[in-house]
Structure formats: structure tokens, C-alpha cells
């Protein structure tokens, strides 16, 4: 590649990359000089933007204080947000739309909204098609934009702004309409950089909160994947998140397993998008998963790797119960619909039902012991049945459905991949998507059913396979028939979390770094 030649369309990207990665300092060619100058020029523009924003905010606030002396509250909270703005993604997208309109390219004289094509693209990525081609992946593309706005270029100003940011409350909305057919992918969300551990629907069905190993919880629109808020007060992996039944608050927590070196954050944090951290719940001293808000909104329960379960009052933060009935680390937890009882699953393979406020053991379910470790548990919304799934080294990937009253086994579902010989394709890139449940970490095998969820009408159960399987299967435990299988879309990566939308028309499933929203109703 001769540096003195003109730029050609064929090699333009390579030329720019070459110069930006390895700038030649000695007698630079005209090409190198141009590229370097442009780089500096635009970097300075970005710095200007940050500086100006800081001054603008300062001036607007100073004027407010000058002219309204009685308004003391404003001084502390009047910070204007740019970086951590709930609509920050919208801003970036809108910004690009402006470029489209200002650019006046070709025949399109008016800005063209592209939500339809974007959604198509997103869906395309979901089924693994759009890695190449005319349009680069939406996630990569947005990620790049985030980077260019998000860190060095905005520098100190953005750090300062985001650290004291206040937020308007999250928008309310309705569940996306079910216009397609069963299994149609609506959104494939991959803004979080590391494994997604949990994804939960807001009570109105319009938003998703997803927790990740990247130490964040992100709130985004289920219909479009548009990021609205990022919660980043955790200093360790976030393993679980849940909404309060009124949709105003969220609770999240996690931490890494204490076998690993280092300081861990096992705090359970209650927060809202508008006011940030509201309360920290204390008690657990080890890896937590899952955390669930009681259906009546009064309590929060968390299952811990130290074999204990904790129940707190949501309002005061008081620790009500510490349940110590299990012999081994907890893997799953679910509330009864009346908020009186809790069912917990454990690596000791006994599923236990107990009273939430007293910790009194009500029922032990032992029928699953022959299958290995119990990995997840779910209580049917009508309160009558419990589904618990199993897996681990040398065990079966089955889901048991049993009576919540008598503990009698009603059905054992065996539709998931059983063999440990399934290959795990991909290697490096899928490293981050290895399943994470404590039982699995201990055993080193991905076989099992790692997530299970009842449909809101209590008719069907959805179960998510371990690595090598990666499918989500919907089946009817009463008629004992399979309704639907969503094949793996992520190289067989484990399904770590499953959640039906409140109306039952959609499902949120997480696999690796992808959260997929798809239609779960015909």
C-alpha cells in the first residue's frame, strides 16, 4: 500500500485504520497528515461539546438561583443530565436522524424514520443472520456510538454530570401487541457487555429490566430495545433483578461466589430510575440469586449461596426471616401468589416450601433427588402447582411439576437435551455465555434445565435448556404435550432466565449476552 497514492474506495477503511492505529510520526505522508488532522479536529469538537455543556448547565442553574432566591431545593438537585439521561439512546439515535436530514443526500429531502427497518434488522440478528451484510449489527453500531459519546471524548464533564444525575420517572406504557406468530422475535437486546443473568418485565408489560455480570441493570423498552436507564451502583456482578408490583421501584443484587479472591458486593439494593438508590438491604454474605419481590409488594426475598434465604420488609428494610432449612447452596426461589409462602430449590436436591414471615417449613419435595441438583423453581399463578427443574453433572435435564399442597408429582417433562456429549460451538466468544448457576459452576457441566416459568394463565410451562441445548420449550403439564420449541439462537448457550410478559403474549429469555423478546402466544 503506497502511502503517496490517492485514497481509493476499495482500501479507504484500511488506510484510515492503519493511520489511526499506527500513526506515522516521521515525515508523515499527505494521507497520514489528513487523517491525523481530521482525527484531532473531531476530537477537539467532542471536547468542546463537553465543555460547552458543562458551562451551559452551570449558567442555567446560576440564573435559576439568582432569580429565585427562595428555591433552595433546586440547588442540590437541579443538575441537568446528559450522559446518563434516560433518553440518552434516543438522543444518539435522534442525532443520527438529524445527520440524515441535514446531510440532504440523494433524493430523500425529509428525515426518514427507520424504526421498521431497524426492528427487522434486530430480528435478523436474533436469528444470527445479520452479522455481515449491508448494515452492520445494530448492537455493535450503537455500542460504537455510545463509546464515542460515553468516555474519553466527553471526559470529566460527563463523569461529573452522571454521578449526580437526577432522572425523570420511567415512562409507563402497555405490552407490545402480539401481531406475529408464535416464536416471532420482537427484540434482540445486546447492549450489556457480559452475561445476562436475569430479565424481568415491568408490571405494565412495556419495559424490561435486565441484570448482567457487567455490574449494571438496564431498563429498556420491550418493543424496541430502546435503552432508557442504566443502574450502575453495584460494584460486583448483578445476578438478579425484580420490579415492585407497582412498577415504581426495583430490587437487584448479586456478587460473585466467595470462593473467588477479592472483595465482593453482596448488597441487595432497592432503587428507582428517578431517585437512584433508595435502600440497601443487608444480611447475605455470599452470592445471591434470585431476588424476588412478593406479589403483594410488602416483602423481598433472596436466595443465597450460603444455603440461607432472606426475607425483608420492602418498606422499612427490616430483615424478617432468615431461612436455614437447606443443606446446600440455594439455586431458585419463588413466592406463592398469595405472598404467604416461599418455595426454594437447592443443590441439596430437596425443594422446600416455607412460610415467608415465620420461616416455618411446610413441605419438602424429595422426588427430584434421583435427577441430580435442582436448578430453578416456579410457582404457578393459580397457586396449585410448582415446577422445579434439575441438572448438573451426571444428572437429568428434567422438569418436575408437583402439587403445592400435597407435594405429589404430577408430571415429569423430559424434552430437553439429556446427553453430555453435545458439543459447545464457538469457543472464545461464547466463553462469556457459559452458564453460571452455582450448581453448575461447582459441577462444571452445562446439562440441565436452568430456568422455568409458568404462563400467567397457569396453563403452560416454559423451560430453558443448559449449554449445548439452549432451546426454550413451552409445554402443557396437564395435557402433557409440547406446545412450541424456540431453537437456540446463540450457539446452544444456556438459557439463564425466562419470564412471561404480564399479559402472556411474549417471553423474555436470556442467553449469553443476548436478551430476546419473542411472541409466546399463537
Amino acid at each position: 500500500m503506497n502511502d503517496d497514492e490517492l485514497f481509493t474506495p476499495e482500501t479507504i477503511e484500511e488506510r484510515i485504520d492503519q493511520q489511526t492505529s499506527f500513526p506515522s510520526s516521521l515525515s508523515p505522508s499527505p494521507n497520514a497528515r489528513v487523517i491525523r488532522a481530521l482525527q484531532v479536529y473531531y476530537q477537539e469538537d467532542q471536547r468542546s461539546a463537553a465543555r460547552m455543556w458543562e458551562r451551559l448547565v452551570q449558567q442555567v442553574r446560576t440564573a435559576e438561583i439568582e432569580t429565585s432566591p427562595g428555591n433552595d431545593e433546586k440547588q442540590g438537585t437541579g443538575e441537568i443530565i446528559m450522559q446518563q439521561n434516560p433518553d440518552s439512546t434516543e438522543i444518539r439515535e435522534a442525532e443520527l436522524e438529524t445527520y440524515e436530514s441535514v446531510g440532504q443526500m440523494g433524493s430523500s429531502a425529509t428525515p426518514v424514520r427507520r424504526s421498521i427497518s431497524r426492528r427487522t434488522l434486530v430480528a435478523g440478528i436474533g436469528v444470527g443472520v445479520a452479522a455481515l451484510g449491508a448494515a452492520a449489527s445494530y448492537a455493535v453500531f450503537s455500542g460504537r456510538l455510545t463509546t464515542s459519546w460515553g468516555n474519553a471524548s466527553l471526559g470529566a464533564a460527563s463523569t461529573r454530570l452522571s454521578s449526580t444525575a437526577t432522572q425523570p420517572p420511567l415512562p409507563t406504557g402497555t405490552e407490545p401487541p402480539a401481531n406475529g406468530k408464535l416464536g416471532d422475535i420482537l427484540t434482540s437486546y445486546k447492549r450489556q457487555k457480559q452475561l445476562i443473568t436475569d430479565a424481568r418485565w415491568s408490571p405494565d408489560g412495556s419495559l424490561i429490566a435486565s441484570a448482567s455480570y457487567d455490574q449494571t441493570v438496564q431498563i429498556w423498552r420491550a418493543a424496541s430495545g430502546k435503552l432508557l436507564f442504566t443502574y450502575n451502583k453495584h460494584t460486583d456482578e448483578v445476578n438478579s433483578v425484580d420490579w415492585s408490583p407497582d412498577g415504581k421501584l426495583l430490587v437487584s443484587g448479586g456478587g460473585n461466589i466467595s470462593l473467588n479472591e477479592g472483595v465482593h458486593d453482596y448488597s441487595v439494593q432497592i432503587w428507582s430510575a428517578s431517585s437512584g438508590l433508595v435502600r440497601t438491604l443487608s444480611g447475605p454474605d455470599d452470592y445471591i440469586r434470585p431476588i424476588r419481590w412478593s406479589p403483594d409488594g410488602k416483602y423481598i426475598a433472596a436466595a443465597c449461596y450460603n444455603a440461607k434465604a432472606y426475607v425483608w420488609e420492602a418498606a422499612g428494610g427490616r430483615l424478617v426471616t432468615t431461612y436455614t432449612g437447606h443443606q446446600d447452596s440455594l439455586t431458585g426461589l419463588a413466592w406463592s401468589p398469595d405472598s404467604k409462602r416461599i418455595v426454594t430449590s437447592s443443590a441439596d436436591a430437596v425443594v422446600q416450601v416455607w412460610e415467608a414471615t415465620t420461616g416455618r417449613n411446610v413441605l419438602n419435595y424429595n422426588d427430584q433427588q434421583s435427577h441430580g441438583l435442582v436448578l430453578a423453581v416456579a410457582w404457578s399463578p393459580d397457586g396449585t402447582r410448582i415446577a422445579s427443574s434439575s441438572g448438573g453433572a451426571g444428572s437429568d435435564a428434567v422438569v418436575n411439576v408437583w402439587s403445592a399442597v400435597t407435594g405429589k408429582t404430577l408430571y415429569v417433562y423430559q424434552g430437553h437435551v439429556q446427553s453430555a456429549l453435545v458439543t459447545f460451538p464457538g469457543g472464545g466468544t461464547l466463553g462469556a455465555s457459559l452458564p453460571f448457576a452455582p450448581a453448575h459452576r461447582a459441577s462444571g457441566s452445562g446439562i440441565g434445565v436452568f430456568s422455568v416459568a409458568w404462563s400467567p394463565d397457569s396453563k403452560n410451562v416454559a423451560s430453558g435448556g443448559g449449554s449445548g441445548d439452549g432451546s426454550v420449550q413451552i409445554w402443557n403439564p396437564t395435557t402433557r404435550t409440547k406446545v412450541f420449541t424456540l431453537p437456540t439462537s446463540n450457539g446452544g448457550a444456556c438459557i439463564n432466565s425466562l419470564a412471561w410478559s404480564p399479559g402472556g403474549a411474549h417471553m423474555a429469555s436470556t442467553s449469553g449476552i443476548i436478551t430476546t423478546i419473542w411472541q409466546s402466544k399463537a
Binding site: P9, E64, D87, Y99, M105, A135
Partner: protein
């Protein structure tokens, strides 16, 4: 001091301002820089334009379309530029000691290098402003936002090939300019 209108912004207004700023700050800065001698002056004027927008009480700028917003901001900025030309004859813009300090702090460069750098940047700015607007858009998306040609093409509804052609043309134009300039300088030295 001039008495300002109260500007008690509601949270939604704050969000709108942030949105509006994110949309228009950079295009507006590029525009203002064509009319001002220094980046610092340009920054001042952009801020003034946004403050004027906030102070706009009768008809909120946020109610306008994005294009109208930019047009409005440009017009305000233009008048501020003119105003600044008038006043600059009477008021020095930045105290010399202060500017010297700023330069050293920010650039870690000697005064000569700073001057050279400024000259280069000023020339580039001038050349860029002569390029058609869609070239500037592509350059900005490539160098400020770090997008690939395929991504720019997707945004602007053009093929990747078309973007590659436009981008290489834009760079060749700028390259020719800078080449001619260095030749001119060499000639001057001889």
C-alpha cells in the same frame, strides 16, 4: 449586569434541553467556527444560543421540529457572531496571561507548536467548511462517531460502496489542499 429572565426548568424541560443540545451542538459549532477566529469564541456563542433558546418564553423552541430548531439556533448564533465582531474592537476577548496558562495546561506544547497547530486546524476548518455538506456529514460520522462505511451507508440510506467513494473523494480533496499548502510554504522558504 443585565437582568435575566427566570429560567426555572422543569425536569422534562431539562431532558428536552439535553436532547436538543445533543442534536444540534456539534453542527452549530461547525457553523459558528466558520465565522469566529477561535474555538473559544465559537464555544461562547454556541452556549449563548442555547441559553437564548432556554429563555425563549413565548414559543418554546422544543416545540419546533429538529430542522427548525437548528435553523433558529443558527440565526441566533449568527447575530451573536456579528455582535461579537462589533464588540471585539473595544473589548479584549481573553486576558493574555490566562490564555497562556490554558494553552500550556491543555496542550503541553510550546507556544510555537500551539501556533502551528492552531494554524493547521484553522486551515482544516476552512477547507472542511468548503466541502459540500454531505461530505462533512460523512467525515463527522467516520471520525467523530467512529462509524464504518457500512454503518454510515445504513444511516444515510446509501450503499457501502457509495460511502466509500464519497469518503475517499473527501479525503483526497483535503489531501490535495494540504499538499498544495505545504508546497506553497516550501516555495516561500526558497
Amino acid at each position: 449586569m443585565q437582568q435575566r429572565q427566570p429560567r426555572s426548568l422543569s425536569p422534562s424541560d431539562e431532558t428536552r434541553l439535553a436532547h436538543c443540545y445533543s442534536l444540534h451542538a456539534l453542527p452549530l459549532l461547525a457553523y459558528v467556527r466558520q465565522h469566529t477566529p477561535s474555538r473559544e469564541d465559537a464555544e461562547d456563542i454556541v452556549i449563548e444560543a442555547f441559553i437564548a433558546a432556554v429563555e425563549q418564553k413565548e414559543a418554546s423552541i422544543f416545540a419546533l421540529t429538529e430542522r427548525e430548531q437548528l435553523a433558529w439556533l443558527r440565526r441566533v448564533a449568527y447575530y451573536r457572531c456579528v455582535d461579537r465582531y462589533r464588540r471585539s474592537a473595544r473589548y479584549p476577548t481573553v486576558p493574555l496571561e490566562k490564555s497562556e496558562q490554558l494553552l500550556f495546561e491543555e496542550e503541553h506544547l510550546s507556544p510555537e507548536q500551539v501556533a502551528l497547530h492552531h494554524e493547521e486546524q484553522a486551515l482544516l476548518q476552512q477547507r472542511l467548511s468548503q466541502l459540500p455538506e454531505h461530505y462533512q456529514t460523512i467525515l463527522r460520522l467516520r471520525f467523530a462517531n467512529g462509524l464504518r462505511c457500512s454503518e454510515i451507508g445504513y444511516l444515510l440510506q446509501k450503499s457501502e460502496g457509495a460511502i466509500r467513494v464519497l469518503l475517499s473523494r473527501a479525503l483526497n480533496t483535503l489531501r490535495e489542499i494540504s499538499k498544495n499548502q505545504s508546497e506553497e510554504k516550501n516555495d516561500e522558504r526558497r
